[in-house]
């Protein structure tokens, strides 16, 4: 099958949806003339002109607010935040306006809005530019959180998000843009809320998403050599969340490790650990383990950044802790 890079798969998804539906448009900082900081909107300006691919000022709250207004008026905006870090600047528009408009107004309005933003660290971008803060948006009701780990998932989930009548925070990863993977020529959609089994295994369930899925698969390789069969489950969307997939996998393996790039305390791993112990209290052979970033602002120095971000070795250690 044809291989595409993650950013190419995203650009293709947007181009297809823009061809399909005249109401779909893209806006953000340097998405047009510049082609997108991470090339995810490359080529769109040329095909769709500056009417549908709009370069904006550096004003994230404004970008989200304008996109919301346009969505309420019947368009289907796909705003890009140059990075997830700037979702913090737009926090009120996302949490108090985008996520609450439908409920607060008694369901009078659709909110067809997909906010794209790359998160994560790993290239020494320091304390303010390395956030994995999906947990805040999963905590707050009213917005979906989609977080693909492969080009295939990225394309199929972005198309579904753009067609949804609900707001979606679509979280990409700076270090995944260059990764390659099979993407069929023919159109496909991937429904939200369906985890993907990235690798089957009988001994332990590792739940991981975004870049951490790749680390989990590396760890699984290492552990296979030692005779430990790891099942790697990628939820792909954090809201909605495929609890059935997690419970049935852990129900079989009786052991669970959750991996996330974000901070450990009150991370998404905490929620998964809490629900698994609530639901499978008597089935578990060991406490649910969490692999996550240390609770410190991300440091710049290469050695320190490497020490704080979770990787395959950390996952291996966590698995060994409960399997041997």
């Amino acid at each position: 099958m044809r291989e595409l890079r993650y950013y190419e798969a995203l650009a293709e998804a947007m181009a297809e949806e823009m061809r399909r539906d005249e109401r779909v448009f893209v806006m953000g900082e340097d998405v047009g003339l510049f082609g997108g900081t991470f090339r995810a909107t490359e080529g769109l300006m040329a095909e769709f002109t500056s009417r549908r691919v709009r370069d904006t000022p550096i004003a994230e709250a404004g970008i989200v607010g304008l996109a919301l207004g346009a969505a309420l008026a019947g368009l289907r905006p796909v705003p890009e935040l140059m990075t997830m870090n700037f979702a913090i600047v737009a926090m009120d528009q996302i949490i108090n306006h985008v996520a609450k408009t439908r409920y607060m107004f008694g369901g009078q309005f659709d909110v067809p809005l997909t906010i794209r933003a790359p998160g994560g660290g790993g290239t020494q971008k320091g304390a303010q530019h390395s956030h994995s803060i999906e947990s805040w948006f999963v905590n707050a009701p009213g917005i979906r959180v989609v977080i693909p780990s492969t080009p295939y998932d990225a394309k199929g989930l972005l198309k579904t998000s753009i067609r949804s009548n609900d707001p979606v925070l679509f979280v990409e990863h700076e270090m995944l843009y260059a990764t390659k993977g099979p993407v069929p020529e023919e159109e496909y959609l991937i429904p939200l809320g369906e985890a993907d089994l990235k690798r089957p295994g009988a001994d332990v369930t590792v739940v991981a998403w975004s870049k951490m899925t790749l680390e989990a698969l590396r760890a699984a390789e290492t552990l296979a050599a030692e005779g430990i069969e790891v099942e790697v489950l990628d939820p792909r969307t954090l809201d909605p969340f495929d609890w059935d997939a997690v419970f049935s996998s852990v129900g079989r393996t009786r052991r669970c490790v959750v991996v996330e790039e974000g901070w450990r305390t009150v991370g998404i791993g905490a929620e998964i650990a809490a629900r698994v112990q609530e639901t499978l209290f008597h089935e578990l052979d060991a406490p649910v383990q969490r692999v996550a970033a240390a609770d410190v602002p991300t440091p710049y120095a290469k050695e320190l950044e490497a020490a704080t971000l979770p990787n395959a070795d950390d996952i291996v250690r966590a698995v060994l802790k409960i399997t041997t």
Binding site: R54, P57, L68, N96, F105, G106, P141, D166
Partner: protein
Amino acid sequence: MIAETDKIRLYRKMLLIRRIEERVAEMYGEQKIGGFTHLYIGQEAVAVGAISALNHDDYVISTYRDHGHFLARDGDPNKFMAELYGRETGICRGKGGSMHLADAEHHFYGGTAIVGGSIPIAAGLGLACSYRDDDRIVMCLFGDGATNQGVWHEGLNFAKLWNLPVIFVCENNFYGIGTDVRQSSSLSEVYKKASGYGMPGYRVNGMDVLEVRQACDEVVKLVRGGSGPALIEARCYRYQGHSMTDPGRYRSRAEEDLWRKRDPIPRMAKMLLADGVVSEERLAEMEHEIEDICEEAVAFADQSPAPSASALFEGVFAEHYPSDPHA
């Protein structure tokens, strides 16, 4: 020139807002209405003068002080009162309350409780108009305090930069809760803030519905014609406290009296009588008609059912999944 029949309509609408809010205050006292309730009493000329200058399919967006805007936009008094009661029959099914009135049918995008929060959304509504190249325009009403919020700056810059058809109407009632506009804005003459965006700024007397309407008629024509956005400062005064719980120690008696003399409603009644546009009898009739509307609204709210328990989980999303919260 505003036709005599229009003048009567404007007067009637102001009176309706005034009387229905007097009932709201009463019902709040009886604890049939809760939460934060912000009365519009005193500012009626702004909502009525400005919103009446729009077409039915234009877009309007408001703040938490939204009663007058909702009613000026022809929102249904029954659904209004039922919403403040938190009843299933409310315009937002009881989920919004006083601060979050919205009305899709009248293109009224509702009240936000976040000061300034509506400004970029208004620009976004304008973006949709410009994107579709229809001839709709947007009116965004907000207070003097909102002009110091970051999103206000962002919204006005976007609107001018992209030449969006948005009229920003600042209701300068001189206070943000207890804070004097001179204590919150380095430029307390709000209309001058437009200069920071190369946008035209106008000032009108917000206690005179005809002046507001005339100014808005002109600005609406310009903006609909493609002039880009404009800022209008309407100077006005709220007669009640900021919300129902405001002791209101921060304003002098003398100041309040001065502004009460400018009450837009008796002022217009006098004028309509002097010009022979209406008779004393007609005005008395009108009071009765409006009295009936208020009675009916209160009765409707009183008789309406509370939302069902299942409503708690309805309407968070359009599309549902097993992990969504449910009863």
